[in-house]
């Protein structure tokens, strides 16, 4: 049943322009950043370079790809619940012998499937210089994994926000606000008691940084997966309160 729901979501999304616009727009922006980083790096003398080309690329290219994902995931999630609640098509699954858990996981997997090509855009750009520059494949793989894990979290936040409102625009704003709060919350650390790193730990970009630097840490993987799980559970709760399934 999960596969049936996910398959329909992916099919429906691919015949709408949104994922293609996000892919195309994302590629244009990332390729511009890629060219700028490579150009700046090439313009420096060897002793002026403070970081390797791989690190420059992962921090800038993958870092900006995360921001694009932060916008893209709520946009793709908005039609999955919020749009269906508004159009009345949600009544179809509400009256079908489908569990809420199957429904949430099906929609989430579809969202992850649609988000994954966006996570691969930075690697696509790196392929241009794969043969001519000495890139660290391990660091690039770690950065891609980090980006994808952050995408998992963004998708679950997007899906949760989508379950909150019958107005897709409002659900996008809610998701974006949540993600923005978890992005800047790390800056509150300086305001809190010195040594207390809770705010820093809550911030997703702090965890993504370690992946971009080439370090795959279990605590960072646990952070992204547990946040994704929490927001999926909240989506489940939200729909269970509304429907008998």
């Amino acid at each position: 049943m999960i596969g049936i729901i996910a398959g329909r979501e992916v099919r429906s999304a691919l015949v709408t322009p949104l994922p293609w616009i996000l892919l195309g727009g994302g590629q244009v922006v990332l390729s511009w950043i890629f060219l700028k980083v490579v150009d700046d790096f090439a313009g420096l003398e060897a002793d002026e370079r403070v970081a390797s080309l791989t690190l420059e690329l992962t921090l800038n290219l993958f870092g900006f790809a995360a921001v694009i994902l932060m916008l893209a995931a709520p946009l793709m999630a908005m039609r999955m619940l919020s749009g269906e609640l508004r159009d009345g098509s949600f009544e179809l699954v509400a009256a079908a012998p489908v569990r809420i858990g199957q429904l949430v996981i099906g929609k989430y997997l579809a969202l992850v499937g649609l988000m994954t090509p966006l996570c691969l855009l930075p690697i696509l750009n790196l392929a241009w210089i794969a043969g001519i520059a000495d890139l660290d494949p391990g660091q690039v793989a770690a950065a891609t994994l980090g980006l994808w894990l952050a995408g998992l979290m963004f998708c679950s936040v997007g899906l949760y926000a989508s379950s909150l409102s019958t107005q897709p625009g409002a659900s996008v704003l809610v998701a974006f606000s949540i993600l923005l709060v978890f992005s800047i919350i790390g800056r509150a650390e300086s305001l809190a008691t010195p040594g207390l790193s809770l705010f820093g730990w809550l911030s997703w970009n702090e965890h993504l940084f370690w992946f971009l630097a080439g370090a795959v840490r279990a605590s960072d993987i646990a952070y992204f997966l547990s946040f994704a799980g929490v927001f999926l559970a909240l989506s489940h709760r939200r729909l269970s309160n509304r429907y008998l399934q």
């Binding site: 729901i5 329909r8 009345g88 509400a94 009256a95 429907y243 008998l244």
Partner: protein, 305 residues
């Protein structure tokens, strides 16, 4: 006959507003039950509760003896539901959509093709299988909504205003379809079109302000001994009442009369006697229960005429 659906003290509040209060009813195999009421009477709320799309605030729903609150997935296997707005995905083609619905309703993979073809045939969708749903007319969308509700052959069919948006020919076809479907299943439908309810339902629940006002059996057979006639010109009601087979005649105006016949008399006797009395008979028909009169009396809206 087997009880397909049972509602016990069914209530639903939206905040402080009681949309439905203490509704009790049963639906049996082969029965078509109509929910009748003005806008805001609680018809759609009742159907959404029955379909499992809404939690009841109080009360219980059983579908084939299965508690919908406790075992919703098991209960919903026997359900087909057409909401007020057909639940369609405009970006899909008709065949894709119906195949998805079949899989969603757990039709075995091998039976999907046959189920889709059968639902399309019954709802007159044979020629539009490849069309995008977004490009269908309102009538075809409504038919597609009915097709998704029936394609898994549910024992209980819930239809919210099934003929909404259909032209007169399609309306007649859908009414015939409902009668045909009722042979194998029980059907609950809502409508605010009185002749429609009268045409297809065996029983009607009249709702008003979320409360059940009356449960009325609509017998297709005319009430014995009651006829309605129309004769030419102005005729004295006394003359009509003096006919041997007539016990009483009530003038309805413009040459129309409601006739109460004596025991054993038939409409044939009445026709012969009217003609024998030198009157010109224009119409003679059975007197059916007047749902419109019952409805307006119950909701307190007075006589529409």
């Amino acid at each position: 006959m087997e009880i397909l659906a049972r509602a016990i003290d069914l209530s639903r509040r939206f905040g402080r507003y009681p949309a439905l209060s203490g509704l009790d009813f049963e639906l049996r195999q082969g029965e078509v039950l109509g929910l009748l009421g003005p806008n805001g009477a609680g018809k759609t709320t009742c159907l959404r509760l029955l379909s499992g799309g809404l939690h009841p605030s109080r009360g219980k729903i059983e579908i084939l003896g299965i508690d919908l609150s406790r075992r919703p997935v098991a209960a919903k296997r026997h359900l087909g539901y057409l909401p007020e707005r057909p639940p369609l995905y405009p970006e899909l083609r008709v065949d894709e959509y119906l195949r998805h619905c079949a899989r969603l309703h757990r039709v075995p993979r091998r039976g999907v093709k046959e189920a889709v073809a059968e639902a399309k045939r019954r709802c007159g969708l044979d020629g539009v299988g490849r069309q995008l749903i977004a490009k269908l007319s309102k009538g075809f969308r409504q038919r597609l909504g009915i097709a998704q509700a029936i394609l898994h052959r549910p024992r209980l069919l819930i239809l919210d205003e099934p003929t909404e948006g259909l032209d007169p020919v399609q309306t007649r076809e859908v009414r015939a379809l409902i009668r045909e479907l009722s042979k194998d299943s029980g059907i609950i439908l809502s409508s605010h079109v009185l002749p429609e309810v009268q045409a297809v339902c065996d029983r009607v629940l009249v709702l008003h302000h979320g409360r059940l006002l009356r449960s009325e059996h609509l017998s297709a057979a005319p009430r014995a001994g009651l006829c309605r006639v129309r004769v030419a010109g102005a005729v004295d009601p006394g003359q009509m009442a003096r006919l041997p087979c007539v016990e009483a005649a009530i003038a309805l105006g413009e040459g129309r009369y409601r006739m109460i016949l004596t025991e054993g008399a038939t409409s044939g006797d009445l026709a012969r006697q009217i003609v024998g009395a030198g009157l010109e008979l224009h119409e003679l028909g059975p007197e059916r229960p007047d749902l419109e009169r019952v409805f307006f009396d119950l909701i307190g809206a007075g006589d529409p005429a």
